[in-house]
């Protein structure tokens, strides 16, 4: 139980970017081991630069280290150059905080934001010295737990993990700690009994407590049932949700790294959940209901965080930040707070470059652009919008209800205010998509450039294309993903259509990687065999273009006698037992199926924050409620969404006015 630093240090001059492995961040905890504390190693299965900013990991790191019965450190995937050095030197995966062996920890907990990292999960378990197959682990081996969005279909990793946590981790990590603490105190006997105990904790899914039966391998051998092996094990595992974000003002000591990372700024989460109802969006479906952080707490967290870290930039994070009820007063308050603490020149005016407020995931409307203008007084280079589909028809299918007037209004407003570059995100391969929908993307982009040219000769629009990958717990979970060839054909259509379009730049994601992501997203336990083969064939860092290799995946499917096509490209029926049918994000299956049918009928669905509840199942099922500061749609919301808000005076059924905020009239008219 001591630091491996003396052995690791001589390896670091031999690898790229060694500062990834030294820890020493501002905000780092001083982990105290021993005393019966349950030791958690929080792992992010991608590089330090990608993983360090992850807020979920930082939150749990603090919550666990505040406990007297737990200690937490962090680790990230070593880049292949260090992996080679570690294996050659016979050294294990280590924590970056105190450079302890991963094997010194009781729990190895992975944060999974995406699916292509699964092979890295296996690689890190192996580097930690843990048998990758859960069945081969004994009483002395650590427990492997996964959490994060991808854990909502953990089945492809079922054979490798001991448990998956569904939903938000703030509360459940404490409950897991207590159970493991007792088990250790009682002598670490009988791993199975501990797992059985853990499987009774709400939100904790222990795959080994469930039997899976499949049909004979005809037409792929459909899943028949996933059933608990004991009568006291819940047949369905429900996600965890914290009722009020105001009770969890974390991270209090944000980590500021010594080397540049992907989001190199302070992040403060302003709300969780989203009820815009975009049908392709897994995050929006699995994080309901909407829970806003009290505006005053947002201000305090930003002021404290900037002071602690010395960052000059803060990102207000959520799935749609312009929807935060009090976004304007918060933004103005933050700017005023920072002005008040800035150093002064001899004439009493503040000096420095001020604080930049970053508003990611903005809606497409002029209000939003105005807001972006308010917080961005310096250089206005690029602004990003996500219309997601080229035609109104297809946008009604995916329920991203942005009219062309919304988009052109936003773009016009942005160019007018001095921005010169727009980035537009689109998905290709959406349900019901025709070539007319695809080609309309080019038309939208060209029209945006045309608008921009009125204001600046430098106007340009970058179109970024992502291949749509259907995800579990969404209305599109039944949809057969486009093939790589089909994605490529659509990309080529757009390349041709924009070839001579001056000012339009086209970018796209690797279509082959989308295929592998699709398999991992909606796979069942059998896909685990494929993942293990890809890993054993050296397929790590699959989310990195230079390392991704679809041939590894295709070969692994062949070797297992399984069909990639069956998993990725096949449409599912209503009566098919989906691999995650025993796992619940709170959404009624009927709601999802009806919404899927509504999508096919090109029928949109309104946001339930401002219209009556349509009972998706989350609030009613879990007895939780939306927590918002205002029952009214945000300014510009009607323009932004194209929704019919004539019923805006009605207060939604489940709505709590945030108790932390000043009184807000409960009944009001949106008009």
């Amino acid at each position: 139980m001591s630091s491996l630093w003396p052995q690791i240090e001589p390896l670091l001059p031999r690898v790229q970017k060694p500062a990834r492995y030294i820890g020493c961040e501002d905000g780092m905890a001083s982990p105290q081991h021993g005393g019966g504390r349950v030791a958690w190693l929080l792992a992010y299965p991608d590089t330090y630069e990608v993983g360090l900013p992850n807020q979920g990991l930082q939150i749990l790191y603090e919550i666990l280290n505040e406990r007297t019965d737990a200690v937490a450190e962090r680790t990230y995937a070593p880049w292949p150059d260090l992996e080679v050095e570690l294996r050659r030197a016979g050294l294990p995966l280590f924590s970056v905080d105190t450079h302890r062996s991963a094997n010194d920890f009781d729990i190895l907990a992975f944060n999974l934001s995406a699916e292509l990292v699964y092979t890295n999960v296996l690689n890190m378990m192996d580097l930690a010295g843990t048998p990758v197959r859960a069945a081969e682990r004994g009483d002395d081996d650590q427990f492997v737990i996964i959490g994060g969005h991808a854990a909502f279909n953990p089945e492809p990793l079922a054979h490798f993990i001991d448990a998956a946590v569904l939903g938000e981790g703030e509360e459940v990590v404490g409950e897991i700690t207590e159970i493991v603490h007792t088990w250790i105190a009682e002598g670490r006997n009988d791993r199975h009994s501990l797992l059985r105990h853990l499987s009774l904790v709400p939100g904790v899914y222990v795959p080994s407590m469930y039997d899976v039966t499949y049909a004979e391998w005809v037409d792929g051998g459909q899943l028949l049932a996933v059933e608990p092996i004991y009568t006291d094990i819940p047949p369905t595992v429900d996600k965890r949700t914290v009722a009020d974000l105001g009770d969890w003002p974390y991270p209090k000591s944000p980590l500021a790294p010594l080397t540049e990372v992907v989001h190199d700024r302070l992040s403060v989460e302003v709300f969780r959940g989203c009820t815009r109802g975009c049908r392709f969006c897994q995050a929006g479906m699995i994080t309901r209901p909407v829970r806003e952080r009290p505006a005053e707490q947002v201000r305090t967290m930003i002021a404290d965080g900037l002071k602690r870290t010395g960052y000059g930039e803060v990102s207000l994070t959520s799935l749609s930040t312009a929807d935060f009820s009090e976004i304007e007063p918060v933004v103005r308050g933050v700017l005023a707070d920072q002005e008040a603490v800035a150093p002064r020149g001899p004439d009493g005016t503040s000096i420095g470059c001020g604080t930049t407020i970053n508003l990611p995931s903005l809606r497409v409307d002029a209000f939003t652009v105005g807001l972006a203008g308010e917080v961005n007084s310096g250089r206005r280079s690029g602004l990003t919008f996500a219309p997601e589909a080229g035609t109104w028809r297809l946008r009604t299918v995916i329920n991203k209800l942005i009219t062309e007037e919304d988009l052109y209004g936003a773009v016009e407003s942005a160019f007018e205010q001095g921005w010169t570059r727009m980035k537009l995100y689109f998905l290709i391969g959406l349900p019901t998509e025709t070539d007319a929908d695809t080609l309309a993307i080019a038309e939208l982009a060209k029209n945006c450039v045309k608008i921009g040219k009125k204001y600046t000769s430098r106007a340009s629009v970058t179109v970024s294309l992502g291949g749509f990958v259907p995800k579990a717990h969404t209305p599109f979970q039944w949809f057969g993903q486009n093939t790589e060839a089909e994605f490529q054909r659509k990309i080529d259509l757009l390349r041709e259509a924009t070839r001579r379009a001056h000012g339009v730049n086209l970018k796209w994601h690797d279509a082959a990687a989308s295929t592998a992501e699709g398999v991992a997203s909606r796979g069942d336990r059998r896909v685990g065999r494929v993942i293990e083969r890809v890993w054993r064939a050296g397929g790590t860092f699959q989310e990195w273009g230079e390392h991704f290799d679809l041939a590894l995946w295709a070969d692994a499917f062949d070797a297992e006698g399984m069909s990639l096509e069956w998993y990725a490209h096949r449409h599912r029926d209503e009566d098919e037992v989906l691999p995650w049918a025993h796992l619940a994000a709170g959404l009624h299956n009927d709601f999802l199926w009806d919404d899927w049918q509504a999508a096919l009928a090109e029928s949109g669905l309104e946001d339930c924050r401002w219209t009556p509840c349509y009972d998706c199942g989350v609030c009613t099922g879990y007895g939780i409620e939306h927590v918002v500061a205002s029952p009214m749609a945000p300014a510009g919301g009607s323009q932004g969404t194209g929704q019919d808000l004539t019923r805006g005076a009605e207060v939604p059924v489940h709505l709590t006015i945030n108790a932390h905020d000043r009184a807000v009239p409960v009944v009001g008219s949106a008009r």
């Binding site: 630093w5 240090e9 001589p10 670091l12 001059p13 031999r14 060694p18 500062a19 492995y21 030294i22 820890g23 020493c24 501002d26 500021a256 010594l258 080397t259 540049e260 190199d264 002071k307 602690r308 870290t309 010395g310 960052y311 000059g312 603490v341 800035a342 150093p343 002064r344 020149g345 001899p346 000096i351 420095g352 470059c353 310096g378 250089r379």
Partner: protein, 237 residues
């Protein structure tokens, strides 16, 4: 008011690159709310300038940074809390040692520093080899070294870049004073030339001094108060 600071970079933080080090300074200065001057224009930057880049992985007790403060907001640099607060705001292993007002008539660190002193140690740099290696190189008229710059391999005579060499006072480390003019000689390149066959990646490098020359007088950019170094005793002319 223009400041010049001397600081150290020791321990784990030695793996932080020169570029990342600059970012750490910007954050530290914001944390202590020093009235740092900013450039004009669309993207104002704090007016900081760094000296000779330290190779990633090397340690130093002689790093320097020039910081311009806003005119008309004097700070008391004698106040020890200025140094303490800055050291607290910097990562472990980076500590401010000296803070001084900079004479604006003098040049930047990049133009003023004429030579730097290094200590090298590690496998292959053995005690009995130190003096012979130093004598061999100092006696030679030229020292040809093949090295790579911007992807191009070329052979340079690096002898003019070597000002002095020898063992340190403990006799265990190799001390080198290298001129900074022209295409500088990296400590790892010197180590390989002086001790053929070693793996220069294994060599630990510590920068101990940076020197300036004015009117024939050679002195440190900023001296540590009350410290007499091995180089002052033994190596310098």
């Amino acid at each position: 008011m223009k400041l010049r600071l001397r600081y150290s970079k020791l321990g784990k933080v030695r793996f932080v690159s020169h570029r990342d080090g600059a970012r750490l300074w910007e954050r530290a200065l914001r944390r202590v709310s020093l009235p740092v001057a900013y450039t004009e224009g669309f993207t104002p930057r704090p007016k900081l300038s760094f000296g000779m880049a330290l190779p990633t992985g090397a340690e130093s007790v002689a790093e320097f940074i020039d910081i311009d403060l806003v005119a008309g907001v004097p700070i008391d640099i004698e106040d020890p809390s200025v140094i303490d607060d800055l050291s607290d705001a910097l990562p472990i292993g980076m500590d401010v040692q000296v803070i001084a007002e900079r004479d604006p008539s003098r040049g930047s660190l990049q133009t003023e520093v004429t030579s730097t002193t290094w200590e090298l140690a590690g496998p292959g740099i053995e005690q009995e080899l130190l003096a012979p290696a130093a004598q061999r190189i100092l006696a030679a008229d030229e020292l040809l070294v093949e090295r790579e710059r911007k992807g191009q391999r070329r052979i340079d005579d690096v002898r003019p870049l070597i000002r002095n060499l020898g063992p340190d006072s403990s006799g265990t480390r190799f001390v080198a004073e290298l001129n900074t003019v022209g295409r500088a000689l990296r400590p790892s390149e010197l180590a390989l030339a002086a001790f053929p066959g070693i793996d220069s990646v294994d060599i630990r490098v510590l920068r101990t001094h940076q020197w300036t020359e004015h009117d024939g007088e050679r002195r440190e950019v900023l001296s540590l108060p009350g410290v007499v170094t091995a180089v002052d005793e033994g190596l310098s002319a």
